[in-house]
Chain length 237, copies 4
Amino acid sequence: MSAITIWNEFRHERANDAVAEIYPDGMHMVLAASLEDDHVVQTATLDDPEHGLAESVLTDTDVLIWWGHRAHDEVAEEIVDRVQQRVLEGMGLVVLHSGHFSKIFKRLMGTTCNLQYREDGVTERLWVTDPGHPIAKGVDGYLELSETEMYGEPFDVPEPDRLVFLSWFEGGEVFRSGCCYRRGNGRIFYFRPGHETYPIYKNEAVLDVIGNAVRWATPTTERNSGRQFGERSPAEK
Amino acid sequence: MSAITIWNEFRHERANDAVAEIYPDGMHMVLAASLEDDHVVQTATLDDPEHGLAESVLTDTDVLIWWGHRAHDEVAEEIVDRVQQRVLEGMGLVVLHSGHFSKIFKRLMGTTCNLQYREDGVTERLWVTDPGHPIAKGVDGYLELSETEMYGEPFDVPEPDRLVFLSWFEGGEVFRSGCCYRRGNGRIFYFRPGHETYPIYKNEAVLDVIGNAVRWATPTTERNSGRQFGERSPAEK
Amino acid sequence: MSAITIWNEFRHERANDAVAEIYPDGMHMVLAASLEDDHVVQTATLDDPEHGLAESVLTDTDVLIWWGHRAHDEVAEEIVDRVQQRVLEGMGLVVLHSGHFSKIFKRLMGTTCNLQYREDGVTERLWVTDPGHPIAKGVDGYLELSETEMYGEPFDVPEPDRLVFLSWFEGGEVFRSGCCYRRGNGRIFYFRPGHETYPIYKNEAVLDVIGNAVRWATPTTERNSGRQFGERSPAEK
Amino acid sequence: MSAITIWNEFRHERANDAVAEIYPDGMHMVLAASLEDDHVVQTATLDDPEHGLAESVLTDTDVLIWWGHRAHDEVAEEIVDRVQQRVLEGMGLVVLHSGHFSKIFKRLMGTTCNLQYREDGVTERLWVTDPGHPIAKGVDGYLELSETEMYGEPFDVPEPDRLVFLSWFEGGEVFRSGCCYRRGNGRIFYFRPGHETYPIYKNEAVLDVIGNAVRWATPTTERNSGRQFGERSPAEK
């Protein structure tokens, strides 16, 4: 059991009827419902004070899930600093779909995190490239989504530590859809599925992978363990 | 200018009329013709004495290209030992297509190098995932083959040091088609295109990538440079 | 709780009085004693039938620990094949000290696994380079051994997926002492400490790291999960 | 022949007599002198307009060398943005010594880049861990510096793509001293030697490694090659 905080921009759901119909209470509530049997779950959104990410919230969070899209720019630098520091201390981070362009993901990657895309609602098939990885547990060969947005290569991220999923798209493209990173003591997983106008987070297989990712990203050592820096006296006497 | 040895099993071309029609003198001769303007090229085949890979040949080889398919088992262990040692000393190795199942590639990878496949002659598109990599030089987004065999994930190899190409297949699959490795001082590149019954090695774009791979795999240090092992006296006096 | 098999060559302890004094029942028994509170532990040695590694033993093993030194050559190829296959299926493998030169480690790495060494019984200090890694859990900065054999760079192995420990030696050398790899579905950890004439496996800190490694290497998916290879019909209909 | 720009903070040399005695014209001039036989070299310093890094300068730069220490904070964010973008487009970056704490290195790494240190002027020995790497060319086993500052682990950077040098320090510590990264199309090398109060950049072996690093980091593809992002029409018609 981990302590999960689900962060959602929560703007599309309030501004767009099509999205509101799929996620009337917001995507975060659907994700929360899928995780709350196994974890202690709280949610936070952009328009909450401090975007819902007060120091005390992050201190108590083992894994932060992040979904954002149209308002990345409104996330305060101070909060990005705080989340980055907490990841380096050991908090896990699961970045979903359009979160590839979030300030926090770009900050941790050091690159633009840019990609190609097309909103055409056709088939995606996420193949498992690393069947022994805990995040792929329970996925039999691939995971198929019948209607989704396309993301295509090149994906401007550092080479992943491990690549768990590779996507095939009906329109002819491919994409590295499940990428693992370590930064400081923190584990980071980028997972592609999740456009707001398709009910991706109602797909049980997608939710299972997010559950796997949460378990994988949960810290295994104490907060900030072993991160002693600065001047030191010699180890040899 | 590098010294290249092209190794070809050279059995399909002699046993199968359809293959002989595409490659009357063997695949190795077509590859040789494409590389000989820029490099010193020699060829070697399974049925040559020592499979054409005498010590002196390997000593004089900067990069070895390997194509095999139906007779992997006939390659002598002693020659595999010799090629492995030469790779660790610094010789580059470019493994093509069905060479994924060669003894030398399995030896260097430590895994089965198994995969999924289907011979159905439909479209493959190799997307560049690493556009700054010298092996992708000159490829504009992707390289398309209209008729080819399919190879699909999982591909049982160690996570590549760098992934340069990702394939999309018309039948719905994906594959890590261009994989870079280092073993000892040697650079290894696995490149998927090349089934014997499709004229893949007459495709200029494929040949250009093989040329890029040869340049990339050429050693940059002296043979066996820095590989001093065994008992040593203290560095500190 | 994992099912552990500890494999020991068990020759030094029977042939050398100095070693027998430290490990009268063999190193494997000391390692077993340190792990049996948390795991189901069995042991196996070179001179057992099938070296103690019958199919049924490996099937029931989550993590295999390997110590060998002077009799690597006596390990039958057939058993090496069997262990390799079981690792690729998901069994964890913890290779200790002189096990760097075992057939199974060389087989899985694809390199010579050679290194520099000196038996001079001076200080080693293993620094944690990856404090967030579960194998480093509980180690505060470094782990010190007052009398040990030296292993020095270069170490002819593939670049580790993650480097957990780096050793400093009094004689002036360094060594990558804790290296993580994945091959197939299996997790592999090489851990340097352990010469037979120093009581290294009576050091609690060393034993704690081995315990951490066992937990890390325990498979998280079913045996052979997702390793479907061979011909397949199209995913796209 | 590459186009090199050497960036130096150039403050210590003007404020501290001991440093001025070693580098009367600044460290950048000593580095420039060592590189100008093989390359087109220009220099830039913090107090130049735009820190000497106008768009046109960066456009014409193949590899940027960076040394900074006490005035990292005075580097304008706008210039950091510009350098980062140029690296992602393909420019090489060689970060020296205390440059680990520069804004540009932290930006590209996504971590604090913090470490342990001690200014005690004792011996460092940089061992080659990757003797086949072009940056290690010409180094025979190790490179020794008799008086230097210590940097120790943990070093809070992402796991390097390749580790070329590992340092041993007389005081008992170790450090990953030569680390290769790719970000976007750009190659990045962090190289530890170089404290301002020791004449490190007068050591021929150190200068040779910097020369090797410059060659390695020189782009092999056109500026921004293959970095096409944004909406696209289907590859499949």
